[in-house]
């Protein structure tokens, strides 16, 4: 090239490469997005604001995080990134289906006759066997307005007391523990606490897999200001590996550790005596109880050295603000509720409740587990009201316009007790709403047998291929996620709004519509007003949330305000709304940003009769199924980041499913060598309940006497799981049990693996 040519400031077109005559331009996938629609992610309970891109035909083709949202600040995890694909994922139901018996073929039907039949069957069963012989098990997946409407239908029209949500499988222990400590449900902290805390303990929580966005918020806080992170987990998760201190605890013994931590704190005078005196009851009983849990004794139980126990206790107690987060490692245990109370007590005696960076924050699982806790009436009446309180029964009966005697005076069976009641013949009919017990309940064989006994099983789900449908008499195709509109509440009590992005698939209908229509088939359905729009239902909830001293007050919120603020935390009262309107905080777009309460109990006043929190003594009783000679391995189960629950959604989207398309088990290579189990081969795991075939991944991530199996797969870990129930929360102990490992014919196992994978 001549220097002259080099000087030429000619505009070149880069698309003309290599001197070819017909050149191709740089092509980068252009999804031709015409509109981005605001909505809220429908997987876990982090509560991320998400935007779905629609092309010119109005089809959802892209997802992105909303950068204005404080929760996720523009980020999404793998599941959210592909959320637009779920509308068209395989297995969706698009027509109501009916059949006489589960062995008959499905007959497509129309909504009117299907719901007529459903209404008459429910009433027939109730008339024949009693009001409570028809049970309803709901979910954490619906929108809050739908939960409220289902509650109205279940409590106000159908009137069965055997009505619960599948949140019993995930958050019941947190609910129960919060109620026992603070007098009410409701996580008192928020993600912003990471910015203030000086010490964080994660109890049985694997944030990077379970709640990657919350992990990122924590990581961001740590990049700004380092503080000790302690992870308690029997498995060396990425979180455990990245923690400053990892306590590899013996499964099922966290109560001993909590007691011992409190023992050290109280013995060394590190507690916040002023806070204890001013805001709690029961310190003496706790002091007496934890005396038995000196670090030496505890170390023998929980497998953590006495020095580590002392070190962590001192670190936690001396921190200016310290917080605990937990997930299923605590909740899914034979003493899950006690575990939550123990964490609360630890925070109460160190004065770490209701202050920035000092809190007990349960990290919730389902997108709207909080919504169902708040408004579905599963465990009581709407708005954290209780059936046991006459004034609550009266209030709701009056509001709905029915006789208060229609309500039972005590909460009925929890989900995990409903199935044994079917087994015992007390319950004859069951309505499952967006839950899949054939995969999600412990001891699959037992559940299978129980479902076979039902006279009438209705499945209401977005997916016609959920495994439980094989026992159903009726299938109601529901709209999924952003095919409808309404609210979710996240882990930090934040209401966020799901906006409708697409029309429901085929003839499927929103759960809200289904509940409204079914209500018309019951006498009380004509007395109670069932509004036609979710916004009106929200107005009812706002009305019911008002009241002096109530924490769950959403009266200042509207759907539009929630969207404008990308979520509002409760309590957010009418007074708060007025304050915000009068203030000058406005965004560039001129939208008013509502700011709810970040924390509960900041004034040290709790939802108990005397306003003081309860400190409860928690003696540790080891009723776990521990490994023995016959079943020498601890069996632990948990989540992987690419899957959600029973894979009805994520199992069908290749860009997620491909990271773990078949069931597998983490096993220690030393144990593998002893049993001659090869990496990547299949084995059969056997427990006292049954067996399952899994592919082995040998890794030192798990202890030599321990295995880990993701729970998402049908016909897998829950076939062997015992699932003892927590006495308070009735939540099953999914994560502690024992198994043995047997050889299996590799070809047969591979064939089985293929046959078991419909998705």
């Amino acid at each position: 090239m001549t220097s002259e040519k080099k000087k030429v400031g000619k505009k070149f077109s880069i698309s003309k490469i290599f001197g070819r005559k017909e050149q191709n331009p740089i092509r980068i996938a252009d999804k031709n997005i015409h509109q981005w629609k605001y909505t809220t992610c429908g997987y876990c309970s982090t509560g991320c604001s998400i935007e779905i891109g629609l092309n010119e035909k109005g089809k959802a083709v892209a997802s992105r995080g909303n950068a204005n949202a404080d929760v996720n600040r523009g980020k999404l995890c793998i599941k959210g990134i592909f959320e637009h694909e779920l509308f068209d994922a395989a297995g969706r139901g698009d027509k109501p289906l009916m059949r006489k018996a589960p062995y008959d073929a499905w007959q497509p039907s129309d909504w009117d006759s299907t719901l007529d039949h459903m209404g008459s069957e429910i009433q027939r069963i109730q008339e024949t066997y009693g009001k409570d012989s028809f049970a309803i098990v709901s979910t954490g997946q619906l929108l809050t307005e739908e939960f409220y409407t289902l509650g109205k239908l279940a409590r106000g029209c159908i009137g069965s007391n055997n009505y619960d949500g599948n949140t019993t499988l995930c958050m019941a222990s947190a609910v129960s523990g919060y109620k026992r400590s603070f007098g009410s449900d409701g996580p008192p902290g928020c993600y912003e606490d990471f910015e203030h805390t000086e010490c964080l303990i994660a109890w049985g929580s694997n944030l990077p897999e379970q709640h990657p966005i919350i992990y990122w918020r924590l990581k961001e806080a740590l990049e700004k200001r380092n503080f000790p992170v302690i992870v308690i987990d029997p498995r060396v998760t990425m979180f455990a590996q990245f923690a400053d201190i990892h306590l590899a605890i013996t499964p099922g013994t966290d109560l001993a550790l909590m007691n011992s931590l409190m023992h050290v704190i109280l013995a060394e005078g590190l507690e916040d005596r002023d806070y204890i005196d001013a805001h709690t009851n029961g310190i003496e009983e706790v002091e007496a109880c934890v005396k038995d849990y000196d670090p030496i004794t505890a170390s023998k139980i929980c497998g953590i050295s006495e020095d580590s126990i002392r070190q962590v206790a001192r670190l936690y107690a001396k921190a200016g603000a310290a917080m605990s987060i937990w997930t299923m490692g605590i909740n899914q245990s034979t003493h899950g509720s006690d575990g939550v109370v123990g964490i609360n007590s630890l925070n109460l005696i160190t004065g770490n409740i209701g202050k920035p960076g000092g809190t007990s924050l349960s990290i919730t699982g389902q997108c709207n587990a909080m919504g169902t806790r708040e408004w579905s009436s599963c465990s009581g009446l709407p708005g954290y009201r209780m059936l046991e309180k006459p004034e609550h029964r009266k209030q709701i009966a009056d509001f709905w316009g029915i006789d208060e005697e229609f309500f039972p005076k005590k909460r009925g069976l929890a989900q995990t007790d409903i199935f044994p009641a079917i087994e015992a013949g007390e319950i004859k009919g069951l309505w499952l709403v967006a839950t899949n017990p054939m995969t999600s309940m412990p001891n699959t064989a037992r559940i299978r047998k129980i479902l076979e006994k039902l006279d009438f099983l209705v499945i209401q789900d977005a997916y016609a291929d959920v495994e439980t449908t094989q026992y159903a008499h009726m299938f109601l195709p529901a709209a999924v996620w952003a095919e409808k509109e309404g609210c979710f509440t996240n882990t930090e009590r934040r209401y966020n709004i799901v906006r409708k992005v697409q029309e429901p698939k085929g003839d499927s209908k929103s759960d809200f519509w289904i509940f409204n229509e079914l209500a018309k088939r019951f006498p009380n359905g004509k007395k109670i007003h069932f509004p036609d729009t979710v916004e009106e239902a929200f107005d009812e909830m706002r009305e019911l949330s008002k009241g002096a001293g109530r924490t769950l007050d959403i009266s200042g919120m509207t759907h539009q305000k929630i969207e404008d603020a990308c979520g509002i935390q409760w309590p957010y009262t009418e007074a708060d709304a007025k304050r915000d309107e009068e203030s000058t905080i406005a965004t560039e777009s001129g939208k008013l940003i509502a700011k709810g309460a970040q924390r509960l109990y900041t004034d040290g006043k709790f939802q108990t009769p005397d306003g003081k929190a309860n400190l409860v003594p928690l003696p540790f009783v080891d009723n776990n199924e521990v490994p023995c000679t016959e079943y020498p391995f601890w069996m632990n189960s948990g989540r992987v980041v690419e899957h959600f629950h029973t894979r009805t959604r994520t199992g069908k989207m290749g860009n997620m499913n491909k990271y773990s398309p078949t069931p597998y088990m983490e096993m220690n290579p030393d144990a593998g060598a002893e049993l001659n189990v090869k990496h990547g081969s299949y084995v059969r795991i056997v427990s006292r309940r049954g067996d399952a075939v899994v592919m082995v991944q040998l890794t030192q991530r798990v202890a030599r006497n321990s295995v880990f199996i993701p729970f998402h797969f049908h016909d897998c870990v829950n076939r062997v799981c015992l699932g003892l129930l927590d006495p308070h929360s009735r939540q099953p102990a999914f994560k502690q049990g024992s198994i043995r490992i047997e050889a299996v014919d590799q070809d047969m196992a591979a064939q089985l693996n293929v046959e078991r994978r419909t998705y």
Binding site: N24, P212, N657, K658, Y664
Partner: protein
């Protein structure tokens, strides 16, 4: 010119050292580090010179001759050139010609409230990278590039406002932080609309230690937009361009014909061959996002704060290291990749891979890790004969047939030229034309199979686009010209035979034929040998250590002798024997057996040398050798025994037995054994190679699981993300 460049290079290097010395260790490596890297770099440059890079040390910013740079005559010639007209027509076959949206619009729509983590932030830029390559790409482009020209992404003429758009950019990966959450991979696949079986970015991991002192290190890897883009140099179709904007190495799937050679040469598994679409695609650096000041989608999606992006050599905020390697990352001196790392947390001495590759990483004295064999499948010897068949079967046939055809033709033609009686007799025999047709057919079948092996066979003509750099282009051209030569030679032979047979007298033509034939034959021999040489060179790939050895030379040229002689001998010796030329038959038996023996001995010695080299090597070459000795252990031994035995027998026949019936019998037995041995050997050559790719995960990017999924039928479910066995 080379000298000048090297001088400039040296000057730059000095400057770089000073620069880094001045900034101390803040940049994460000291001058000693730079020195050691540079030593390797020098060695590597020799390799690059050998690989056909005319300007060592100079990055190949190759934009090429544009229409704007052509003279009027060039343009006119081009316009009426039938080759270009035909080519331009063929270019439209099977090509995505969908209209581009002409609406004026931003190159990429920045979302409302975009956060800082997604925004490019490089206030200071270094002058040169640690290898001495200028970071300002306008300085090193070998064609004039105007500052501020449009990238015309999807036909959009807007010019990005990024002040650093002509600087080399690269990824920065903090291995300490990666949680393996797949958000980067997902964001990439979402943005690029990729099906499950493809991904421009993948996360794998290495792990070590023992419970609870267990460490897992996740590695997220995409294209590293290298200073020395071996993909671009290797690509025969010129589908690749290294752009003066951001230094992005972009590939055009619509130019690609799906040979997959770039996937062989890339040490990082960046180019993705889609067996369903039959073409390659890869990371595009999200240049659309860069143009509007945003970091790539993967970086913006990172939830562990592990992945970052900016002008290369810059230390991201809150980070302290800019290292060139971490455990599991291939030797950076192969391509000078534009990726830097931070990895401060100590790792166990041995880090294993969870995927099926028999590789692990061992800590060396200086703290770096090198790949060594991991004997995952024990030491048992197996046959695994069924697994000899692979998707590279067409290449097994192509290379063997090509070599056989060349060997036989050269022997036949030159033998006649030198007046070797037995070969002259063949020329005059009834078998001559069938023999020639056989050789043409062998070559035709080979070429056809290698063409059909392409993802887009209709685009075969693009194979010669990159004669300047690509050994594949040169190989393809050489073999194609050889084929043209022998086809012409054979055609003329048939023509003159036909004219004789039909008693057509046309002296003007008949007199010319021998001269043209001689020309065609020499043309075929020269181009064939050049083609064969470049065929050898095509496999000298630093990212495939099993191949990158002189054994490829001895094997391919050895096979030319051995297989060529066997083919010739199998036809010619019986012909002579049956036509009563017993003496000439034993002469020819001696010649062909002797040459076959020479070819086999050469190949055998090469293999011996190869095995010796592999035994002392660590890493992927040794791992391939381990697989060769175990999974295919019995097959390997069979091949070696056959090769040694047939080599020996052929030698004995040539030396002592060529005049005996026993010699004929021995040769008749040995000849098919030679073919079997060579077939097994060539099949092993393709299936054994282990590339220096990134570690995979347990399911994703695990060859073992992919194979299992195909075998048992899991791959038939598209959501498993494994492409079912494809039959071309």
């Amino acid at each position: 010119m080379n000298i000048k460049v090297n001088k400039e290079q040296a000057a730059t290097e000095t400057k770089t050292v000073e620069f880094y010395d001045a900034s101390g260790n803040a940049s994460g490596f000291n001058s000693a580090d730079v020195g050691s890297v540079r030593n390797k770099q020098e060695i590597n440059e020799e390799a690059l010179v050998a690989a056909g890079n005319p300007t060592p040390g100079k990055p190949a910013i190759e934009i090429g001759l544009r229409e704007e740079n052509m003279t009027g005559l060039q343009k006119t010639l081009r316009k009426y050139n039938p080759w270009f007209i035909a080519r331009n027509y063929l270019d439209t076959v099977g090509t995505d010609n969908s209209d581009l949206d002409p609406t004026p619009r931003p190159i990429f729509e920045v979302r409302s409230g975009e956060r800082d983590y997604a925004k490019l932030n490089d206030p200071v830029v270094h002058e040169a990278n640690r290898y001495g390559t200028m970071i300002d790409l306008l300085n090193i482009s070998d064609v004039p590039v105007a500052e501020g020209r449009s990238l015309e992404i999807n036909g959009n003429p807007t010019v990005g406002e990024n002040p650093n758009r002509n600087k080399q950019h690269g990824f920065h990966f903090t291995a300490d932080n990666c949680i393996g959450c797949h958000a980067c991979e997902a964001a990439c696949s979402e943005k690029n609309d990729l099906p499950a079986h493809l991904s421009f970015r993948s996360v794998g991991y290495v792990e070590g230690g023992s419970y609870p002192d267990y460490k897992r290190m996740n590695i997220s890897m995409a294209c590293n937009h290298c200073d020395n883009p071996v993909c671009m140099k290797g690509c025969p179709t010129k589908a690749y361009t290294k752009h003066a904007e951001y230094g992005a190495v972009l590939q055009d799937p619509e130019t690609c014909f799906g040979c997959g050679y770039c996937t062989w040469v890339c040490p990082y598994n960046a180019p993705q061959l889609d067996p369903i679409e039959g073409k390659v695609s890869k990371c595009n650096m999200c240049v659309d996002r860069l143009e509007v000041g945003l970091k790539p989608a993967c970086v913006s999606a990172c939830l562990g704060n592990a992945l970052n992006f900016g002008v290369v050599e810059n230390t991201p905020e809150n980070r302290e290291q800019v290292k060139t390697s971490i455990p599991g990352f291939p030797d950076p001196t192969i391509t000078n990749p534009n990726i830097r790392f931070q990895q401060t947390k100590s790792m166990p001495n041995e880090m294993a891979r969870t995927d099926s590759m028999p590789i692990k990483y061992h800590k060396q004295e200086d703290g770096s890790f090198r790949s060594v064999v991991d004997e995952k499948e024990g030491k048992a010897l197996s046959w695994n004969l069924a697994r000899l068949s692979s998707r590279e079967n067409p290449l097994v046939i192509f290379t063997l047939f090509t070599q056989a055809s060349m060997g036989a033709f050269i022997l036949l033609f030159l033998g006649c030229v030198f007046g070797i009686e037995s070969l002259v007799a063949i020329k005059n025999s009834v078998a001559y034309i069938p023999l020639l047709i056989l050789l043409v057919a062998l070559q035709a079948i080979g070429l056809l199979l290698s063409t059909m092996h392409l993802g887009k066979p209709m685009r075969f003509y693009r194979g010669f686009n990159n004669l300047r750099y690509s050994p594949v282009s040169r190989e393809a051209l050489g073999v194609a010209l050889f084929f043209t030569g022998i086809a012409a030679f054979t055609g003329l032979e048939v023509l003159s035979f036909g004219m004789g047979y039909l008693e057509i007298s046309a002296p003007a033509i008949t007199d010319l034929i021998p001269a043209i034939q001689t020309g065609a034959a020499y043309f075929a021999i020269v181009t064939g040998l050049i083609g064969l040489y470049w065929m050898v060179r095509s496999y000298r790939i630093p990212a495939r250590p099993f191949w990158d050895h002189s054994q490829v030379f001895t094997s391919f040229f050895g096979t030319m002798f051995s297989l060529g002689s066997v083919v010739l001998g199998l036809v010619a010796v019986p012909t002579l024997a049956l036509t009563g030329n017993a003496e000439l038959a034993s002469d020819l038996l001696q010649i062909t057996a002797g040459l076959a023996a020479l070819g086999l001995i050469a190949e055998g010695l090469g293999l011996l040398n190869h095995a010796k080299y592999l035994n002392t090597e660590s890493g992927e070459g040794a791992a391939a050798h381990y697989v060769q000795q175990t999974t295919f252990g019995k097959t390997y031994i069979l091949r070696n025994v056959l090769m040694a035995a047939t080599g020996l027998l052929m030698a004995i026949v040539a030396i002592a037995l060529s005049e005996t019936t026993l010699g004929l019998v021995v040769a008749a037995i040995a000849a098919p054994a030679v073919i079997v041995s060579l077939l097994i050997g060539r099949a092993l050559f393709y299936i054994l190679v282990i590339p220096t790719t990134m570690p995979g995960a347990f399911f994703w990017k695990n060859k073992g699981f992919e194979e299992h999924a195909r075998d048992v039928g899991l791959a038939d479910m598209p959501q498993v993300g494994v492409v079912p066995a494809c039959h071309h």
